[in-house]
Amino acid sequence: MNRSIGILGYGQSVYVKKTDRTLFSFFAEVARQALTSANLSKGAIDGLAVCSFELPPDNAVTLAEQFGISVSWAYLGTAGGAGPVASVINAIRAIDAGHARTVLCIAGDNYDVAGHYRLMDNFNRALKNYATPHGFGGANGLFGIVQRKHMETYGTKREQLGRIAVGQRASAMLNDNALLRARLTLDDYMNARVIADPIHLYDCVLPCSGAEAVIVGALDRAPKGKGVRVLSGYERHNHPPGEVAPLRGGWELFRDALYRDAGYGPADMDFVQAYDDYPIMVAIQLEDLGFCKKGEVGSFLERHSFAWDGSLPLNTGGGQLSCGQSGAGGGMIGLVEAVRQLRREGKGRQVPTARRGLVSGYGMVGYGHGLSTSSVILECVQ
């Protein structure tokens, strides 16, 4: 990864449960914010990456048409919630190779709970033909199978997984953009209504509308003290091949390279922004990314606390579990929060020690599990 290229600015829309606004209106809002944050103007953008489930039949090129910009590099994410982190990795490589100078990476969707159900029923041919006719309950049913398997294989307990949701909610209470800001206790988590046993209500994200954006370019153009370096980044798709409900993902394959390239290990991360469609997948990421051994995440969760001021600050804006899941925007919410923290713009939830952190993506649910994974390690430019 070329260390002279990084993230220059970011934007995040307000999240809403229902909206009459168009998807393009959300995209324009976050693009404008990101430009302001990078101290750049629209004319500077010559590369465009977009991740969005609701965007088709439009795409990255027709988004350029809507935005009235001419670009020399266009990228359409296909990796679901792993796409936005992957888009930033690819944008850095594109700039390094000379294809563009300034890339705007956007992710988001405008839908609601009903729209999310429609999306999951038609997400891909395997789900539409071989899961929807079972009444599979969308991702909830599939991750219920994964969570039960983890619990029965390794002894992981709901009250351990609940510490993730509870910690993140404490951070969300300090985030005006979060849809869910009421205090959540472990009792609330344990006693919530069952959705797809063993998945209960506070294991699930609230589908919503919103968008996120970052701008990638040469770090010497960043406003003073506001650049964010990408130390390393990897993506992996369809690992392990052929399993229905694996307890691991592509992170385990690139973990060693990710830390080697960065020159840091898990203990050096001042925060983690992990893809949190479900606490069980955060737990599996913590294992696969080397924060603890495979199967030992239960006791790891007991030893740590996960609010912004906890022993392992995790999804410090509240994550998708508390902010809502704005479709593919859920794959960029952690990235934007990481950039905010490293620019020391975290306001009431600023992690005091935030110099570097890990951001992880996960998505594209296929026949039983998410196929795609991605991760980056970020560091503030002093």
Partner: protein, 138 residues
Amino acid sequence: MTAGPAYPRPRADADNRHFLDEWREGRLALQACSSCGHKFFYARPLCPNCWSDGLTWISAKGEGEVVSFSLIYRPNDPAFLGEVPIALAEVRLTEGVALLARIVDANPASIRTGMRVGLLPKAEAARFPLPAFRPKGA
């Protein structure tokens, strides 16, 4: 052709037509690769192991065990609302192939990992768009 709830149905195509026809007869058809012998579910145009398109159909014995499962109280489609919780399981067949399938004819509270299950007989199979199982001995 089928009685019962208006479940969403798989879309028949060149890859899965035989599988869907077989299920109407109460049989579970798997694909087997003529080149490498790999057996798999769901129906595809290529062997995911060796990419051969020389695929044949085999009829599974229809027996397996529950690897893990979820009891779904909030199915996406309203056609399922009258029968919650839906027991959706990862079932490993004796042929070694795993698939997602409903476990029916069982008290949901009695379903366990490791439970032996068998394919529904033809008379009851017609109700379900995809292969479904019930506990062995039920």
